[in-house]
């Protein structure tokens, strides 16, 4: 009998249709093969929904909503957990990472995660206290905005417990809605806030009074823990500025920051920087999440229009997407929009992406005052604030934008009688997921030319594809971090992370196995599910394994003006990437590869996908 260390091998399963609560065992070999987190979620989704994948409506009761930790959760400094299911954005699987105390609490309660099935017919929240699990009435919580939910839960429960929750956006099945935690954290990529809303699940509250599972080698774990704490604690500038530094650095230095729906990627607005925000608006710095020796968060407090807004940072993505991407270069206004997104339970990236898209369409006369109800202008705080609310509450044009950039583009084209490509050319998204705020045109930031084109998570900037596959540049490394689950900002070199994993789990996973088997296994499975897609979208690699049209327009401004991605380079690198992963020239995992990875039951489905694409 193989002993499991670092994990329990036990999931809490909740069926909201029947109200039944139970437990599922996950055999140790499954953990060994998929690690946990994103990998394990993908395995569960394939096993349960794979046969009917195309027919499963992500917003229907058949979809699973999965909350998972990994073997390193609670041990490796820092905290992340993964939210997953069939994605309402890509119709594939996204391992959406979020920092939350629920991660350690669920392990302390005796589970590695929670799988939610079915849907409730009335608002509920899940309360887990060790072995005691209740599906409770959430009628008094339903409708509450983010900050209100946290307060209300504390009042109802009498104390401050770890929780994941949705805001009004998730309740209304907005595809750009996030699963929120601790006021300011969001599992945004994938759109799982909408899945949670479709199950009428307002919150998941967890308290665990027990210890975390035992580790395999106590001494080695203790030693490595200190080693990592020391390394991470020496990242002084990151501790001081967090990712907010990117507002200046990614824009001014590397010309890779979205400006006005990515029409540009460079700015020189000195006031739009971490330095100004720090001086004027940060009331708590540094601020950390659980178990973290880095402490990259900051509490920002800004007053705009007589109202006080509190947010974290804003961190780079929120600041860029709700700031420069919308033509807003005043840091107090960006902090306010970021706070608003937190409060509404919206992913700042996806929503900033679709709002920027809308403002450009308005600028070009495709959308009009009749469509929106008011003027949309770059940098106009009032109209942007109003539009964020309209998206969250699905009001007016907000109901269309709530579908996310890709689907909104198709709908707007349909309503206006315009060919879809004419509208999609302004949509900066890949496979239904808006591209994270790190462009590829200048080549000076980290995403390589195929970063988003080949990612199994579309525009997800935290899971970019890259060459060589056997390195931290590739999506294998991201998939591994999301499966372990550890925060990429507290990650250190591969060798140490793998030693840490061994100390906790006893697994001797070598670099070769990571890059040759485990990573490719998760990616192959995610890839097949992505290409199956359905019910409302189907991706064709020849068309959709590509950058958004905008990334083929030369950068108009900045020191790298004229830079663009080369189609030839993308094409060549895609083929090289597929080849290194053992996929064919269409990017479909080959039968040989699937068998080598132990995915025998995927072979037939992959063949079907290949045939449909007209491949050999």
């Amino acid at each position: 009998m193989v002993q499991l260390y670092g994990c329990w091998g036990r999931l809490l399963s909740v069926d909201l249709t029947t109200g039944k609560v139970g437990e599922e065992r996950v055999p140790p070999p499954v953990f060994r093969a998929y690690v946990g987190g994103r990998g394990l979620a993908t395995y569960i989704l394939w096993r349960e929904l794979g046969r009917r994948w195309r027919e499963v409506d992500p917003l229907g009761p058949e979809n699973l909503l999965i909350f998972l930790t990994g073997p390193l959760t609670g041990y490796y400094p820092g905290i992340k957990m993964v939210v997953s299911g069939k994605s309402p954005q890509s119709c594939g699987v996204v391992g959406s990472a979020v920092s939350s105390h629920v991660a350690y609490a669920i392990k302390a309660a005796g589970y590695d995660g929670i799988v939610v099935r079915g849907a409730s017919d009335r608002p509920v929240y899940l309360y887990v206290s060790d072995d005691h699990v209740e599906i409770r009435d959430a009628s008094k919580l339903w409708g509450l905005r983010g900050f209100e939910v946290v307060q209300a839960l504390r009042r109802e429960l009498g104390r401050d417990l770890p929780s994941l929750y949705i805001g009004p956006a998730g309740e209304r099945l907005v595809r750009t809605a996030a699963v929120m935690s601790r006021w300011v954290h969001a599992a945004g990529y994938g759109g799982y806030g909408a899945v949670m809303g479709s199950k009428k699940l307002k919150a998941v509250v967890v308290e665990g009074s027990g210890p975390l599972p035992p580790v395999a080698d106590r001494e080695e774990f203790a030693k490595l823990r200190y080693e990592v704490v020391d390394k991470v604690a020496s990242r002084h500038t990151f501790r001081r500025w967090g990712t907010t530094a990117g507002l200046w650095r990614v824009g001014y230095d590397t010309s890779s920051e979205p400006v006005r729906n990515w029409q540009e990627e460079w700015h020189s607005v000195e006031g739009f920087s971490h330095v100004v925000i720090e001086r004027r608006y940060w009331v708590k710095n540094p601020w950390a999440d659980w178990g973290c020796p880095l402490a990259c968060m900051k509490v920002s407090r800004a007053e705009v229009g007589g109202r006080v807004y509190v947010t974290d940072g804003p961190d780079y993505e929120m600041g860029a997407y709700l700031g420069s991407n919308l033509g807003v270069f005043e840091v107090d206004k960006v902090a306010a929009l970021s706070s608003l997104a937190d409060d509404l339970g919206l992913c700042g990236i996806q929503t900033g992406n679709v709002v920027g898209f809308a403002v450009e369409l308005f600028e070009r006369g495709v959308l009009t005052v009749e469509d929106v109800g008011y003027e949309l202008r770059w940098g106009d705080f009032e109209s942007l604030r109003r539009l964020l609310e309209d998206v969250a509450y699905r009001r007016g044009i907000g109901a269309v934008l709530a579908e996310g950039t890709y689907r909104a583009a198709l709908e707007i084209a349909r309503r206006k009688g315009i060919p879809p490509e004419e509208v999609l050319r302004y949509a900066v998204q890949v496979k239904g997921i808006g591209v994270g705020a790190h462009g590829v045109r200048s080549g000076k930031d980290y995403p390589q030319p195929i970063a988003y084109a080949a990612s199994v998570q579309g525009g997800d900037h935290t899971s970019v594809a890259g060459l060589p596959v056997a390195s931290e540049e590739s999506e294998v490394w991201s998939a591994f971090l999301d499966s372990a689950v550890i925060c990429s900002f507290t990650a250190v070199e591969e060798a140490t992370v793998l030693r840490f994993l061994k100390a906790v789990t006893g697994w001797g996973i070598s670099r070769e196995e990571l890059y040759g088997t485990i990573g490719p296994r998760v990616l192959a499975l995610q890839r097949v599910l992505l290409l199956l897609g359905g019910p409302d979208v189907r991706w064709d690699p020849r068309v959709h394994d590509d950058n958004p049209p905008r990334f083929y327009e030369p950068l108009p401004t900045g020191p790298y003006a004229g830079s663009v991605v080369s189609r030839d380079e993308v094409r060549a690198k895609l083929l090289e990437y597929y080849s290194q992963l053992g996929w064919d020239e269409l990017g479909v995992p080959t039968a040989e590869t699937l068998k080598r990875l132990g995915l025998y039951d995927v072979v037939e489905v992959a063949e079907q996908v290949r045939r449909e694409l007209g491949g050999g």
Partner: protein, 174 residues
Amino acid sequence: MSSSQPQAQIWVLVDYLACTGCRLCEIACSLKHEGVVWPAASRITVYEFYPGAPVPHLCVQCPDYPCVSACPTRALSVDGATGAVLVDPSLCTLCRRCIEACPGRVPKVVPDKPYVLICDLCSGDPACVRECSRAGYNALRVVRKPSNTAIKHYAKPPEVLAEEVGGRVLQVGW
């Protein structure tokens, strides 16, 4: 300051504004006392009722030691060297009178531990302080035990402290 030899009575001085809310102290404490990561069993607990206003909360060794007086089985005593409250596991009956008597409701009861948990100052070298210093946050510091009245100001339930710290950081009443 810290050693395992008999010394002056010590005290953990908390800097609320320096505390980042990371809970590494809870992890370190549970690893030291229980050998596993077990936040619920940590003798120091960080509460955070308001974002960015964490309140590390632990026994402050009240000058009058009300918990010791309240204990009906004499399971609680005072360590002469450090001034810490010590729990004799063989005498504790988990009656919880010490929790009621404590102005901060500090002593803890967790499953599978048949005695109440109270900070013992790690025999003079608190693990939480070491960890916080290691991480470079320096929100916990060992000092000589201050005056009686200074200590009593800290002997409060966490939500009371949170109102004060939270209001200061955010300047809003939520």
